[in-house]
Symmetry: C2
Subunit: 229 residues, 2 copies
């Protein structure tokens, strides 16, 4: 369902220069896989994830999502694809600071044509999953770092996505909470066949997945089983 072929990405930098950040990234992900992406800070993981999630376009190379060449879709068409298939947990959470926790979690459900009661029910179910059922009327500014992260996770899951893209979903969480959330991800993957691609820098968290891709200086340096050590 995800097909990256020789994906390169450069960003403009001051004085009209360019900094290349991704070099010929090539890999496929099939439905039902649970992939971890690891690598040093600044190596290009989030940049890669943004292209997978159709939030950014590559400078060169081809990216197919569910068989469609995403590089040739209009921004509106991209938004439709994203809302239909993908739940995204952002590295910096990206919550709407003026809307309540419940509103934030319900946001992806707006595009599904579900009735209000159903949207509230699903949002509340996910908030309960991440231990925040008592905080639905709070604003993001009234939450701790780890609570914001859990709202971002609940929001990604509320829409019943087929594909979850999680950028360091446990970075702000303690070990117990991180393991609870990853066990839930594993359950979604094994019982419902949901495909998960997750960036993490914690090896203990990568153990929940069944494939590891390592990115170093914008290149893939490993793609295979998750080592036990």
């Amino acid at each position: 369902i995800i097909s990256m072929d020789k994906i390169c990405k450069s960003f403009p930098v001051e004085m009209g220069g360019e900094q290349q950040v991704l070099f010929d990234i090539t890999f496929d992900v099939n439905q039902g896989e649970f992939v971890s992406i690891m690598g040093p800070s600044g190596s290009g993981k989030s940049t890669c994830m943004n292209i997978i999630g159709a939030l950014d376009t590559p400078t060169s190379g081809t990216y197919k999502l569910y068989g469609r060449d995403v590089t040739h879709l209009s921004p509106d068409e991209l938004a439709v694809v994203r809302n239909e298939y993908i739940g995204f947990v952002f590295q910096q959470f990206n919550l709407l600071s003026k809307r309540s926790v419940l509103d934030n979690v319900m946001l992806p459900l707006m595009y599904r044509g579900l009735p209000m009661e159903e949207r509230i029910r699903r949002a509340r179910e996910m908030l309960k999953r991440v231990g925040l059922e008592n905080f639905e009327s709070y604003l993001p500014t009234q939450l701790s770092g780890g609570m914001k992260q859990r709202v971002a996770i609940a929001r990604a899951l509320a829409g019943d996505p087929k594909l979850i893209l999680a950028d360091e979903p446990t970075g702000a969480l303690d070990s117990k909470m991180g393991n609870e959330i990853l066990s839930f991800f594993k359950k979604l993957n094994e019982e419902m066949g949901i495909t998960i691609v997750m960036i993490t820098h914690e090896f203990e968290i990568a153990q929940y997945s069944n494939r590891l891709i390592h990115i170093y200086d914008g290149r893939i340096t490993y793609d295979g089983k998750v080592p036990k050590d």
Copy 2:
């Protein structure tokens, strides 16, 4: 130098209610100590740190910093105390998005009356320490999550603080980078007697400190040696 006595903190919540978040927090930290604070997400660690850093005032109880009762200082006096003694690494980095990396790191030095060349020299030295010497003219929006965290660390250290307050300083960093930065913290603590209070949820990181305080539901449940396990 830090003296917390029966510190309580409540926040107002909707409908005029109040949520108590810290309950009778009492502990002292002496110059030269390296303390870790651990505990579940939402347990009150950052709230406690904000009071220690004189960024917030307790609802009741007394807080003395360097022997002065901080609860009775005016906002201006608090700002002077903070700028003189404290380097703060915020959980959400709090970088100025319209200023360059170098400007962000130099910011705390503005209050020291140092000449421009000296401020630039110190900022560059700290950027080199965190591996970002090639990124001084970048804007925060052009950086990865872990790079922003490293800029926040460099900024906290540039002012030669006597007291470092670090709220999850390695949350966005890979293991190798996290250990490099903690080794540097340990060096500052052991060789220069700098006091460090650090929130972390990674046990491997807490090993660098020589005292562990555990907070659970707003109360201290452990205060002693760092367990090896």
